[in-house]
Amino acid sequence: MTEQRILSRQNLGPLFERLAADGRRILAPVRHGDRVGFERVTRPDEVALDYVQTRTSAKSAVFPPYEPLLQFALQGKDVQVAEPAPDAAPTVLFGVHPCDAASFATLEAVFTWDTPDLPFESKRANLTIIGLSCTQGDAYCFCTSVGGGPGDPRGSDILLTPIGATHFLAEILTERGQAVARLAGELLEPHRGNGKDAALAQIPPRFDARQLGAKLPALFNHPAAWQEQALRCLGCGACAFVCPTCSCFDITDERDRYHGVRLRCWDSCGLALFTLHASGHNPRTKQSERWRQRVMHKFAYQPERLGVLGCVGCGRCSRACPVDMNLAQHAQQLAETAV
């Protein structure tokens, strides 16, 4: 169903207006100094289109750092429980790179494999993703090692690829994409046959994630593979919190004297207390075990159980790590380790 169109940069403004007129809010990358992050925008001049990577990922659009799962209120001696109103505001996520666009498949696999997760699904169902192919990458990017690429259309409803300085190639990929295209109408001009590959960044593959995934179970009890690498890991949650696919959370109640809310908040397998049992026992006592869990989970467990890779090669974890734990580098080492 892919259709190809051309979108002039000048037409972004009218497009944003039409999206807004349709009741959609727009989340897009915004630059503040050396930092780019997703924020709500109304005009295209607010949007950074030349960024390599945002600090935190776009997953907040469907899986925010904290969100209510239920609310309760005391009425006399009774407790009234209420589901929070689902956040169903139609949203357009504009300008995410293909790696982030791909991450939604992983999140969906986690949040919908069994019991439907209403807070997640209500947001996901109302989200349209207008991706933006990468014309530049950096030393941390490794999408091509995990099955993606700088122009990979998967995950986007519409994928924009810059053509020259003035236009985008717009690939309309899904029914949600079509809906936006209908709103855009004449703003999307006919495709003139420009190739998109020339514009794309070159990201050489460093390892093969599928092969690595197959090999990892054999490395599980191979201390050398983990211990040395994890020795410098400080055990913070930075990698997980900036990761577009990490989906672990903790559940907590907050209350005042009459009201309360049950929240889910991001959590990280890198934190020592993540697996602490009420008994005091902690099955993962060493940081190397936690690091191993992170790698295994992304490259072996999720492919095995959910059929998706837990890594999209965005490189955020490696950029964010205070002590330069480089996931791609370690994955490459593991791939090269003889079993």
Partner: protein, 268 residues
């Protein structure tokens, strides 16, 4: 740098230490990563430049690192201060680490005991960098509303990953206050209150203890200048109570001592 590698080789070859904890080249030229050198041959990988910033004393509390045996630690001023403060807080036995202090000119001083560290650190220049000083003064000079808005904006980006805590050599609690949930001292969520309370609690818990290494804000993936909070308190503790943490192994915690005539003009 060569002097550092040479000292590392000698210490390892002589068996004085089982590992040298230093810095190696990072993913990119503007990064350096902590590394553990076990053999004299590996010492060639040690580097020393302005990107070698993470305070290595932070690692000493980790059981995996404890298990390595006696360590040599590549150190700058704040690393030495962290070692002394850890010792003052019963967290570091004398002789467990050999500090390899690298001066600005690259000269390496081997400090095998806490007494030697005390002696050297006493002679080093003190105080904030000019850049830190200016930023501190700039924020302090903002009108209250703008100051509040500035920090609300900064804290809004906090994702509670606790990298600041993990990178800090003096945040070694087995259970952080954020993890104490009966009662729940600080909201788990990274909402405005949770982030404000966390950052205030972190700074207060380091008041009179912080050794000004800046590892907290270096580690922050969102680039929040958390270290400024520490600097403000360090300055207050020094001017009000004469607190100079990290210069002695003597336990002298400004918040666990007092003078009858401490300042109190704000108390009516």
């Amino acid at each position: 740098m060569e002097a550092l590698r040479q000292r590392a080789r000698e210490l390892l070859a002589a068996g004085t230490v089982q590992a040298v904890l230093g810095y190696a080249a990072g993913s990119e030229p503007d990064r350096a990563r902590p590394c553990f050198v076990r053999t004299a041959a590996e010492a060639d990988g040690l580097i020393w430049n302005e990107h070698c910033r993470q305070n290595l004393a932070t690692y000493l509390q980790k059981p995996e690192v404890r298990a390595l045996g006696r360590l040599a630690l590549v150190a700058r001023r704040s690393t030495l201060r962290a070692l002394l403060q850890l010792a003052a807080e019963n967290q570091l036995a004398d002789g467990r680490v050999v500090a390899l202090f690298v001066a600005d000119d690259g000269a390496v001083t081997e400090l095998p005991t806490l007494a030697a560290i005390e002696e050297l650190v006493a002679r080093l220049p003190r105080g904030l960098s000019d850049a830190d000083r200016q930023e501190l003064d700039r924020i302090a000079a903002l009108p209250l509303g703008e100051r509040q808005a500035y920090w609300a904006g900064e804290f809004a980006r906090c994702i509670k990953c606790y990298a600041c805590r993990a990178a800090c050599p003096l945040c070694y609690c087995a259970r952080c206050i954020t993890e104490a949930n009966q009662p729940q001292w600080i909201p788990v969520s990274s909402d405005p209150l949770g982030n404000l309370e966390w950052n205030i609690a972190r700074a207060m818990h380091l008041a009179g203890r912080c050794v000004d290494c800046g590892s907290c804000s270096d580690a922050c993936p969102e680039g929040i200048r958390l270290d400024l909070l520490n600097h403000v308190l360090a300055e207050e503790a020094r001017t009000q109570f004469g607190a100079e943490p990290g210069y002695s192994v003597r336990k002298d915690y400004a918040l666990a001592s007092f003078k009858p005539d401490d300042k109190q003009e704000y108390i009516r």
